[in-house]
Assembly symmetry: C2
Homo-oligomer: 132 residues x 2
């Protein structure tokens, strides 16, 4: 989620694994659109191995797998009912967060005084002066 | 920001630099509490070099620096007015996001079916079946 200079990230953790997040949400959308893990990966510019590992990590984090694949070789892939529910809930959560950010005065205040680009390293006088 | 298994991160970008985020907010709090960059770093378990680099990156991203340090060696450090304003706006934004998350039904729906810990790799049958 981007709001001008503000970048927001929502991740759902399962132990040390990432059960869901922005990349996995986009991957589910792509699998739904393309009907296979390899085509989804290509559409997102990811290697097949990387795409497959993301699907595997997701599936191991939920009681019901989010992506189902056919038996044997080139069977295609599809979202399960659980996959559709998690994806919809995640997008709804993103929308609620987006609405909260846009409606809070703090967001506008936070952007005030922000430069378009940082000064080069070593040009900020105050921070250069020895240990404090 | 944590809500059970949900981890949220809000970062303010300035070009390729991170002008502000959760780590820098905690660092400003620590500088405010301890009155020096080195003591703040120690309190947060960071090296002096790492702490100093974070302060320098922050200061270069804003029209007015967020942390002021004394002239010469061990002069101490303090938040500027700009630093206090940015920190307060960031905490207010976090609070608005927290409230939105807690009040949306999507948050509760998203957690349903999530395991406490992932299954071990290779144990999820559907994702193991070849290319799809």
């Amino acid at each position: 989620m981007r709001h001008g200079p503000l970048k927001l990230k929502a991740q759902l953790l399962c132990g040390d694994s990432i059960a869901f997040g922005p990349g996995k949400a986009d991957l589910l959308d792509a699998i739904d659109a393309h009907g296979s893990i390899s085509a989804a990966g290509r559409a997102l510019g990811m290697s097949y191995r990387r795409t497959w590992l993301l699907v595997d990590e997701m599936n191991r984090c939920w009681q019901d797998r989010l992506v189902a694949t056919g038996r044997g070789g080139g069977g295609g892939a599809r979202l399960t009912d659980a996959g559709r529910k998690v994806l919809a809930a995640y997008r709804a959560l993103e929308a609620a967060i987006d609405a909260a950010v846009e409606s809070t005065a703090a967001f506008e205040r936070l952007g005030q005084g922000l430069r378009d680009a940082p000064l080069p390293p070593g040009t900020e006088p105050a921070a250069r002066r020895g240990a404090a």
